[in-house]
């Protein structure tokens, strides 16, 4: 029965490279590879010859030289004597700052708008539809410029706050001032600071536009304590659940113990460091004290958040709608109460649909923050990709670094997204 015919030992013909599927894919790949190499070689040769013609070289040494320009919005120490690399770092931090603030606010707005759009309240649902369609169909750039114009044109001048009968007044118990030069909010400083941060440094500098004052160490300690207490609270939660599973009764007051674990240590650290609020007030012709949030930051932040929030609202709505009604009914049939149905049945399924596009919108928001150019916010594109390039004439290197920064940020975020996505994906064949 082993009379299977031997495959004819035919000789290799050249036409097999094209017509035989065993070899054809290899042929196509080799041809494509050669073409791509040729294209890259051509581009590379052009760059080299163009650089030679212009008398330039390819050198990142400019990063170490003196920047010589000021940045009005900075999270870390910087002066015009600092290097271009430092200026780029200030820009990167500014980009990340507005991205994080924007993502946080956009999520809140988006979830609220998405849920309200599904509300059975007719007028609220229509109102949210107007918000979502309005922001989704009009360019972000227009919103940024519009909100910036509102901030600068439609808000009172600092001088309006002056006099016996001022035309404008501060809001929230005289703690926040909205002026056409920016928003002034109270600052927290520490009288018993760990980092030797003198209070004088904060109050004296009327020009202080630094968002977080230099008390970085204090904030680091506070965040550390806060994270530790959250971990502690979760441990208590696990202990209570274990107890419940063993005995059938959840220990009394477990919830309040968790709340206490989160709140009490942080408050104690705050008090121990001598946290005091520094309120903004009129000093001379302008407001002083507190934190000065520039109009550029506020406009960019609000516009990014409102714009992305509209997209997130649609994602949240689609996510909730994607869980079929049968799931809710089945959960009720099992005797689950409504909030447990939401937590155990609806949300895990809805989140699987919501999270991947949500993260890709965080990514979009981060990339869209490069529109800071429209309002003069000093993000990484304005420092490294703007002033530094203009001053040094290193557009090739500068744009390369700028592109690399955005690329790495995107790849990190999308890498995280993919890991998460794999963990919640429905397992199919």
């Amino acid at each position: 029965m082993t009379s299977m015919t031997e495959p004819p030992a035919e000789s290799f013909r050249l036409s097999q490279l094209i017509y035989d599927t065993r070899y054809r894919s290899m042929t196509i790949q080799v041809v494509a590879f050669i073409l791509i190499l040729l294209a890259l070689f051509w581009l590379g040769r052009n760059i080299v010859s163009n650089l030679e013609d212009l008398g330039k070289d390819f050198d990142f040494g400019f990063l170490g030289s003196r920047a010589g320009y000021d940045i009005n919005q900075r999270l870390i120490e910087y002066s015009n004597d600092s290097t271009h690399a430092r200026a780029a770092l200030v820009g990167i931090l500014n980009t990340l700052l507005v991205a994080v603030l924007g993502c946080a606010l956009a999520t809140v707005l988006g979830v609220i708008a998405g849920v309200l759009r599904l509300s059975n309240n007719w007028i609220v649902a229509r109102l949210m539809a107007v918000y979502v369609e309005g922001f989704r169909n009009i360019p972000l750039l227009l919103w940024i410029i519009l909100i910036f114009a509102v901030m600068t044109e439609a808000t009172p001048r600092p001088s309006d706050f002056r006099g016996d009968r001022p035309e404008a007044s501060m809001i929230l118990g005289d703690s926040v001032a909205i002026t056409n030069r920016g928003v002034y909010i109270p600052n927290v400083f520490f009288t018993r600071s760990l980092g030797g941060n003198e209070m004088a440094e904060v109050t004296d500098s009327a020009e202080a536009t630094v968002i977080a004052s230099s008390s970085g160490l204090d904030w680091f300690v506070i965040i550390l304590v806060f994270v530790a207490s959250i971990l502690g609270a979760r441990a208590i939660g696990r202990w209570a659940t274990a107890k419940q599973e063993a005995t059938g009764i959840r220990p009394a007051g477990a919830f309040w113990m968790q709340v206490g674990t989160v709140v009490v240590p942080s408050v104690i650290v705050f008090l121990a460091l001598g946290a005091t609020l520094d309120f903004p007030g009129l000093r001379g012709f302008n407001f002083g004290g507190g934190i000065h949030l520039r109009n550029s930051l506020i406009a960019l932040w609000l516009a990014l958040a409102l714009y992305t929030g509209a997209f997130i609202a649609e994602i949240v709505r689609a996510g909730i709608l994607s869980v079929s009604k049968g799931q809710t009914e089945a959960a009720f049939a099992l005797g689950l109460r409504p909030n447990r149905t939401m937590n155990l049945v609806i949300l895990p399924q809805a989140l699987r649909v919501i999270i991947p596009p949500l993260i890709s919108h965080y990514l979009n928001l981060t990339k869209n923050s490069s529109l800071a150019i429209a309002v003069g916010y000093m993000d990484v594109r304005s420092t490294l990709g703007g002033i530094t390039i203009n001053q040094t004439g290193r557009e090739l290197e500068g744009m390369l670094l700028l592109g690399l920064f955005y690329l790495v940020t995107s790849l990190v975020i999308s890498g995280v997204m993919n890991i998460y996505n794999k963990s919640v994906m429905l397992k199919e064949r």
């Binding site: 094209i18 894919s25 196509i28 790949q29 494509a32 590879f33 791509i36 581009l43 052009n46 760059i47 010859s49 163009n50 650089l51 013609d53 309200l116 509300s119 059975n120 309240n121 007719w122 007028i123 609220v124 109102l127 369609e133 309005g134 989704r136 169909n137 009009i138 360019p139 972000l140 750039l141 227009l142 410029i145 519009l146 114009a149 044109e153 990339k367 869209n368 490069s370 529109l371 150019i373 429209a374 594109r381 990709g385 390039i389 557009e395 090739l396 744009m399 700028l402 592109g403 955005y406 690329l407 940020t409 995107s410 790849l411 064949r429």
Partner: protein, 437 residues
């Protein structure tokens, strides 16, 4: 048993009660309001809150909008008219729109030639109609084929023979595919259809066009790209990028799904690099760096560079959307195509892509909407899109200080374009919905 029961009941109605209207709270507007506005305490609070918000917004905007002044030469004249009519609140100065609408729409295109972009838009509409709506006669597709060349000629002007010479190259390619197969074989025909037109465009199209123009001069006034602006510019960039990026995006998606290692990796790198960097950085690359990558003697028009860059940018996004569609198809479809003995391109063309593209329509359209909105970014590299023109108008002393009227006009125009695109996509989705899911 029934007797005892009858005796225990004191009263049994012998006749039907006449039909009554439902209670007043259960019908008409009152019922609707009870169900939709005040169904619970929370809803009632939300309703009152939303009504207040709507009132507040309208109270601020309506008098400003409705009382707007339409006929004035400058902002100061607007204010004079307002003061003369005794209005004590701010009103809109719509006169800036009546004065400058043509600039917002056409940029600095010569005003006596406005018929050219308008005619181009009409031709574009006629070209896109048979693609958008299947019920229209298929013969209209001839317009679609001719439209790009016609629109280019109308917008930029110059000799009619240039676009015709370029179009002839496509004719050559089509002829080789159709008639050359018997001579060259299938593969030879495809390679020939790519190589011959490219050689023709590189070496022959220019001289042929020039020679024809010399013998039979037909042409209209030439308009430089620097005179384009406003919504015309946004639409030209948007439409060209949309038309060019769809095929490129589909190819990239197929490349990313492909088993061929090198092609796969190249597609992935291209898509991820393009998507990872904001469009504005790519636009700056196009305006600052492109001359580094090209031989010194080649130089592109800035608008052409922008169109190329926006096309590449959009194609990476389209590729991801189409990849989603390809991945969403059940494996059985691929296996079914293989078992029918179709080769790769046949399977893709006849079985996979029609289904995958149908799934991806919402994503593709939303990419297009995003692309159209992103055309506003060209203002940063010196092209005069509507937002750039609004700054130019404000720079004029007559209209210095005018903001909201221009923003509202621009925003409204974008809204109309984008909203109608999304409505079309929803209509198409409903139409193509064959009952899966």
């Amino acid at each position: 048993m029934s007797d005892t029961h009858a005796q225990s009941v004191q009263f049994v109605r012998g006749t039907m009660i006449p039909e009554q209207d439902p209670p007043i709270t259960e019908k008409g507007a009152l019922k609707w309001m009870r169900e939709n506005l005040f169904s619970s305490w929370l809803n009632a609070i939300l309703t009152v809150l939303s009504l207040y918000v709507i009132y507040w917004v309208l109270a601020h905007i309506l008098p400003w909008t409705v009382g707007g002044i339409w006929d004035a030469e400058s902002l100061s004249q607007c204010r004079d008219i307002r003061d003369a009519s005794g209005i004590d609140y701010n009103v809109a100065c719509w006169a800036v729109i009546t004065d400058r609408w043509h600039q917002l729409l056409f940029g600095f295109y010569p005003s006596e030639l406005y018929w050219r972009p308008i005619l181009a838009l009409i031709i574009f509409g006629a070209a896109i109609a048979p693609i958008l709506f299947e019920t229209l006669p298929r013969k209209m597709l001839i317009v679609s084929i001719a439209a790009p060349f016609l629109a280019y000629w109308l917008l930029w002007g110059g000799s009619v023979w240039g676009p015709i010479a370029v179009a002839f190259g496509f004719g050559i390619g089509w002829a080789i595919v159709t008639y050359g197969e018997s001579l060259l074989g299938a593969l030879g025909a495809i390679i020939g259809a790519i190589v011959v037109p490219v050689l023709y465009w590189l070496f022959l199209a220019g001289p042929v066009g020039a020679a024809l123009q010399a013998t039979l001069p037909i042409g209209i006034a030439q308009i430089g790209s620097n005179q384009f602006g406003g919504f015309m510019l946004a639409i030209i960039i948007g439409v060209s990028a949309i038309v060019l990026s769809l095929p490129l995006g589909i190819l990239l998606a197929l490349g990313r799904q492909s088993d061929l290692f090198i092609i796969n990796k190249c597609s992935v790198i291209f898509i991820e690099v393009i998507r990872g960097v904001p469009l504005i950085v790519w636009l700056f690359t196009a305006s600052l760096l492109l001359n580094y990558f090209l031989p010194p003697e080649v130089s592109f028009d800035l608008m052409l560079r922008v169109i190329i860059m926006v096309t590449l940018f959009a194609s990476a996004y389209i590729a991801e959307v189409v990849r989603g569609g390809l991945a969403a198809l059940p494996r059985g479809q691929y296996e079914g195509a293989d078992s029918l003995g179709l080769d790769y391109w046949q399977a893709m063309r006849l079985i996979i892509l029609p289904q995958a593209l149908k799934i991806s329509i919402p994503g593709i359209v939303s990419t297009f909407i995003g692309l159209f909105k992103d055309t506003t970014l060209v203002v940063f590299i010196g092209l005069l899109d509507p937002i750039g023109l609004s700054q130019a108008i404000r720079a004029d002393s007559a209209w210095n200080g005018i903001y909201w009227e221009l923003f509202i006009f621009i925003g409204l125009c974008f809204f109309i374009f984008c909203f109608s695109m999304s409505q079309y996509s929803q209509w198409l989705e409903r139409k193509l919905n064959t009952g899966h899911r």
